[in-house]
Symmetry: C2
């Protein structure tokens, strides 16, 4: 008879504190729209003492690094779903993936920034790089198909990915940080404007 359903036992031990702490951190990212909260805030929200987290993480920085890593897992799924939603039309899939990238960035702005600029990722280097690489590969594999199908020019795959990723990512960052705030007010605006990016990328990448 596992304790199953009822959780509010208020037992000394928690059950799954690492996961609870990560969830709490994600909650704080969304609710405070920043990453400036303290590890004591995280612990409070998780319902444990302010030092409990140290049994599972090296410290505040490592929690944030793990949350950044988790972000890449979700992100990869976003990209994957967008791409698979378009079936065989690779050019449509390409556009869909760009839209997904931007929508993810704009709907999780703080998390997105944490993912791409977390200073402390070194604490979980291997895991982090693997998660980030999986997202990267999601984009790269589509570019590869476009090249192999003859729809993109035959350039080295790494070059194609660099060009594509840079363009989408820069746009996302600039929108997120308010550098296009004159013309872009919300995610739908951003997606609309981003079609320029897609068009220009395709102009540059497609067969002449």
């Amino acid at each position: 008879m596992k304790k199953s359903s009822i959780k509010k036992k208020k037992s000394y031990h928690h059950g799954n504190l690492p996961e609870t702490l990560i969830k709490a951190t994600l909650e704080l990212i969304e609710s405070t729209r920043s990453t400036a909260f303290s590890i004591r805030d995280i612990s409070k929200l998780a319902g444990v003492s302010h030092a409990a987290a140290y049994r599972h993480f090296a410290g505040r920085d490592e929690i944030l690094a793990v949350v950044a890593e988790r972000g890449f897992v979700t992100f990869k799924d976003y990209l994957k779903v967008a791409r698979e939603g378009e079936g065989k039309n690779l050019l449509e899939a390409f556009r869909a993936q760009i839209e997904a990238y931007i929508r993810f960035a704009l709907s999780h702005p703080i998390h997105f920034r944490l993912m791409f600029s977390n200073e402390a990722r070194g604490l979980i280097q291997g895991r982090f790089e693997q998660a980030a690489a999986a997202s990267f590969l999601e984009m790269q594999s589509l570019a590869l198909e476009l090249i192999e199908s003859g729809q993109f020019r035959k350039i080295p795959i790494q070059q194609a990915t660099t060009v594509i990723w840079s363009s989408i990512h820069g746009f996302s960052e600039l929108v997120l940080n308010g550098f296009f705030s004159d013309s872009i007010k919300d995610a739908d605006d951003a997606v609309k404007v981003s079609q320029l990016l897609s068009d220009n990328l395709l102009n540059g990448l497609c067969q002449k």
Copy 2:
């Protein structure tokens, strides 16, 4: 008889503390390769008590915001020099400006990140936006000339700038944050690879 040359008077009043604090902050950014230092560190390096800064700045966040703004002033000059160095050859100027963007980002990585993602810029909103806009316009005016001279397709200038800026900026951010660390080890590598960006942008933007 102004006190002129001799500065080490160790007087109670400082002379030009705001400027000294900004310099100290820039020094800490370079030496610690982070922005995690405290306002007390800044004050110490400036040679004043830890609360002195509050006579000139609202707090730590405002100092960083001002430093971010200063960064855009320097950045604009970088872009301007690069462009003017190429005289009448607009396409060469275009490439030179992209190279300058990337070199600035990579030689002042922490400052660059601060400029583009500083959360506290609202504290000096107007000044910040003006400084950032000046950099933006430096790129935009070159794109405009390229369009008017018939070398770029006749698209709205704002669209051209969005496409160009996104691409360069995204590349800079991704390199800076180690997402191309397999292939790009230093600034020269980055500049070399960035020529792909230039090429692809030109592919997309030039007259057919």
